[in-house]
Assembly symmetry: C2
Homo-oligomer: 180 residues x 2
C-alpha cells in the first residue's frame, strides 16, 4: 500500500504533467494558427451540436493529397433549398463537409472476392459554410470554418472564397444535391 | 389549326401508345423478375418515404463492376443503436445503402489543379436491411430489399444473407458508424 507521502507526490506530479500538457497543447495550437477558443471557428462560427444528424446532400472522394472520402450534409434550411433548387441559398443555410481518411476494406474485399472496397477510416476534419449575406458579404455571403476533432482551426475565408468563385452561379457551392 | 377529327385521332393514338407502353413495361418488369407491385420489395418491404432525410452512418466507394460511391443511412432506431454500440440491432432498425455511379468531376479538378475528384453521378439503386427478428428469422433477423428509381427489384434474401454471414458478430452489418 502506498504511503500518504507517495500518494501526494503522485498527485502533484499528475497535476504538473497535466498543466504542462495543456500549456504545450495551447502553444502548439497557437503556433499552428488555431483559434484561441477551441470550439469557436473563424468568423465566430461554432460546430452545430447536431450536425451529424443532418440529411445528406452528396458524397465524394478526393484523391491526391487529401486522400479522403467525404459526405456533404446540410441543415434543414440547406436541404429544403437544395431540393427546391433555390438560389441563392437563404440566410441560415449551413453546409457541412465531413471527411474521413480513404482506406481499403479487407473485410469487404474478401466477400466480393477482389480488392475493390474503400471505406471511411479515421475522421480528418469538418468544414462548414454558413450563409449570412450581411455578415459575410465580403466572402460572397458565406462564412467558412474548419474543425478538427471538434476544435476550430484557423482558416483564411478569403482564400476559401477565391476557390469557390468558379461556382458563383451556384451561390459558391460546388456540391450538387444527389437525388436517389 | 387542327380539325376536331385530327385532334381526336391524336388523343386516341396517345391513349393507345400509353396503354401499350405500360403493358410492355409491366411485361419487361415481370421478365426481369421484379416484384408485381412497383413499390413493394421482397418480403413486403417498402421504401420508407423519408429515408433520404435519415442520418449518415458512413460512406464508401466500391470499384470493380459496381463502380459506385455510396452512403449508408439509418433510421432513428438504427442511428441510436449504432452510437450506443448496441448489438444486436433492435427490431425496427432500417439501414439504407444509397449508391450513385462514381464519376470524375472536371469542375472540381480544375480548382484543385489536378485530376483527383470523384463525385456522385446518376443514382444506381437503394438497398435496405430491415430488422425484424421474428419475421426474418430465416435470414438472421434481417429482411433485404432493393429499389431502382423507387421501384422494387426482386432480390434473393437467402443470397444476401449468405454474403452478410462473415459479419454475424456485428449482427450481419458490414458498415461501421463513422464518427467525426
Amino acid at each position: 500500500m502506498a504511503s500518504a507521502f507517495v500518494k501526494r507526490v503522485v498527485v502533484v506530479a499528475a497535476i504538473v504533467v497535466g498543466v504542462v500538457g495543456v500549456t504545450m497543447t495551447t502553444v502548439a495550437a497557437k503556433r499552428n494558427g488555431q483559434a484561441a477558443s477551441p470550439s469557436v471557428g473563424s468568423a465566430g462560427i461554432r460546430l452545430p451540436p447536431r450536425y451529424r444528424d443532418w440529411a445528406l446532400v452528396s458524397v465524394a472522394h478526393e484523391a491526391g493529397s487529401f486522400n479522403d472520402i467525404r459526405a456533404i450534409l446540410g441543415n434543414d434550411i440547406a436541404i429544403r433549398a437544395y431540393r427546391k433548387g433555390q438560389l441563392p441559398f437563404p440566410d441560415g443555410t449551413i453546409i457541412a463537409r465531413v471527411a474521413w481518411s480513404y482506406v481499403p476494406s479487407e473485410e469487404n474485399d474478401k466477400v466480393f472476392g477482389k480488392a475493390q472496397s474503400f471505406i471511411a477510416g479515421a475522421p480528418t476534419n469538418v468544414q462548414l459554410m454558413v450563409k449570412d449575406s450581411k455578415k459575410y458579404a465580403a466572402t460572397g455571403g458565406w462564412g467558412y470554418a474548419q474543425f478538427t476533432k471538434g476544435k476550430a482551426d484557423a482558416v483564411d475565408a478569403a482564400k476559401c472564397y477565391s476557390c469557390h468563385e468558379p461556382v458563383k452561379a451556384r451561390d459558391f457551392i460546388f456540391t450538387k444535391y444527389a437525388p436517389s
